[in-house]
């Protein structure tokens, strides 16, 4: 999952981005409103965390411009503006959630998780494909009842594939959702990760393979007979 954080306070931005990264999200962060708009329009984010009072361009304008551009990225406003009229204005502008500073990091993460689930149409926090189960909140993967220890960089890919189970997901899509803007698009980082992931979710040699390659298209996670 890839998240955009636009927050002008250096400390809060670092903490929000760091917490999200620790939870397995790829995070792009900026302090400037106009930079935030450019990034949101350029990349395909799963969630955007926006402050409202920003230098360059305020969060409400960013959201308005994103919606006008047809970008449906779920937006969480993270702001010190605590009046009811501010919340109403934010939600009416098209925000999906509103969190007032000061906030608990756990709550912020839970809200971002919820927005991600909602984006993929999942209401349950546990998503299953065959005997593979992913707990989105606990960030825990089990197969045949056994907990799998998967490195966080692979966990995000598996999470994305499970949330898109049955659909073909291209390499570009994985790159844009899992890796931040620092990753080179020419690298074979996705292929290497998928290879490792297949091994990581293999409990024993009788396990059915769940991640399949569609030549020239990408990968699909599904149960096949």
């Amino acid at each position: 999952m890839r998240v955009l954080v636009v927050e002008d306070s250096d400390q809060i931005r670092r903490v929000v981005a760091g917490s999200l990264e620790e939870s397995g999200y790829a995070v792009d962060a900026t302090a400037e409103g106009d930079d935030g708009l450019w990034m949101a329009e350029t990349y395909d984010y799963d969630v955007a965390v926006l402050d409202i009072m920003l230098p360059g361009m305020d969060g409400l304008t960013i959201l308005k411009k994103l919606r006008e551009a047809g970008k449906e990225v779920p937006v969480l406003f993270l702001t010190a503006k605590d009046q009811i009229s501010d919340r109403v204005a934010g939600l009416n502008a098209g925000a999906d959630d509103y969190l007032i500073k000061p906030f608990a990091i756990e709550e912020m993460l839970a809200r971002v998780n919820a927005l991600c689930r909602r984006k993929f149409g999942k209401h349950d926090t546990v998503v299953k494909v065959a005997d593979l189960a992913l707990d989105l909140n606990a960030k825990k993967i089990t197969r045949q009842g056994k907990t799998l220890d998967i490195p966080s960089r692979y966990f995000s890919i598996l999470e994305y594939l499970i949330l898109n189970a049955g659909k073909v997901v291209s390499r570009t899509e994985i790159e844009s959702h899992i890796y931040d803007e620092m990753v080179s698009p020419m690298s074979n980082v996705v292929d290497v990760a998928i290879h490792s992931l297949r091994k990581a979710i293999e409990v024993d040699k009788f396990c059915k393979p769940l991640i399949h390659t569609r030549r020239g298209q990408g990968y699909v996670l599904e149960e096949r007979d």
């Binding site: 400390q11 760091g18 620790e22 920003l54 605590d82 009046q83 500073k101 000061p102 608990a104 990091i105």
Partner: protein, 455 residues
Amino acid sequence: MRSIHRHLIFWLLSCLLVLCLVAIISIIAAFRRSLVAEFDRSLIPQLNNAQLILRPGPLGFNSEINRSPDVYIQAWDSDTQNTLYKSENLGKRKLPFREVNNHSTEHWDFTFENGEQIRLAATGILTFTGRGEDLAGNAVVVAVAKDRSSLESAVRRLLFSAGAIGLLGSLFTAAIAVWVLRKGLKPLDHLGEKVDRIDSGTLADRLETGGMPAELLPFANRINELLDRLEAAFVREREFSSDLSHELRTPIAEIRSIAEFAMMYPNRAEESDYQNIFETTERLTAIVEAQLALSRIESSHELEGHEQMDLEEFIPVIWKSYSNAAEEKSIRSNLTFEGPRHLKTHPGILTTILENLFSNAVEYTPESGSITFELIPGDSDDIFRISNTAPNLEDADLDKLFNRLWRKQESRSDANHFGLGLSLARACAKALGFRLIPKLDSGELSITLSLDSPN
């Protein structure tokens, strides 16, 4: 609760009722008097007839002359009150005697023992007996009477009719009065309803004055003016709350986030976190102290420790602390002292004013801009003026310039300032009996310290 509507209706109806009653009573009394007079006039011919009866003729009393059967007649010797004559229809009953002067007539009512009500007319006459030297005059009182039940019946009918007409008239008049009052007071009710609907959520609404009666117009206009001021105050209050919320919540959020993040992910904690927490705490402390200073200044009534000050010497000392910062931004500064200016005031508070004005000017003047300080000599009401380049300010900003926590930069990202400096300067100026007058001219902001009330 007193109601003009009820008050007017009560008094109007009461007055109408009294007027109606007085009118009815007067009419009834006039009619009764007229009926009684008519009745009395009808008795006069009978009285004249009775006098003829009592004239002694050759055969004694002329008792057969034109006598009406429903008329009672009785005559008395005026001196002895002995009955001289009594008509047969009286039977054993007697008419009451009353002394009446000759040729005068008196009328009065009387009720027989059987309940029959009569009205009498009596006059005094002289009768003569004998001839020649034997002629003797005798004073006689003659009275005639008639049953007055017809009169009483007519009066009762009149009373009933007048009462009924009066009652209906009163009700009709009352209904009209109520209707007219309601119609007349409708604009007042309308105004009351509109005013009643005013609350914090409808402060933007104004009373419609089109078509309003001239008597209510001053009230409506005054209420609208009050609403203007109230709305502006609410907006200021809301902006202040919002700004204060941001100024306090953001640093608290920073401290909390840094601490929570370090606890959750200790490996990601940095040495600079302590420095950040320290700086943020310093900022919070500065906000709280500035707010407290502002409250103290605003609530202070009399400041002690005023001194005679030479501003020509005093001001450059204060400016010195800001001159380096101005030079770093390549700001051209020009302090003009055309003459001495002495002022008896509080040096500490004046220092706060100057520090905040200089700090504000240096902070918000763009690089390569200019700051001009002008000390106005003599006894002018204006004491000094500080001007600086302010290309981003607009005329509308002048109204908010001294509002607490107001900042031109809506993002409020600059952590070094929080918009209390000019508020504090204004509060200090007010406490010393001065005022700060802002003016914007061709991208240059000037703030003049002037005596609030000259002399």
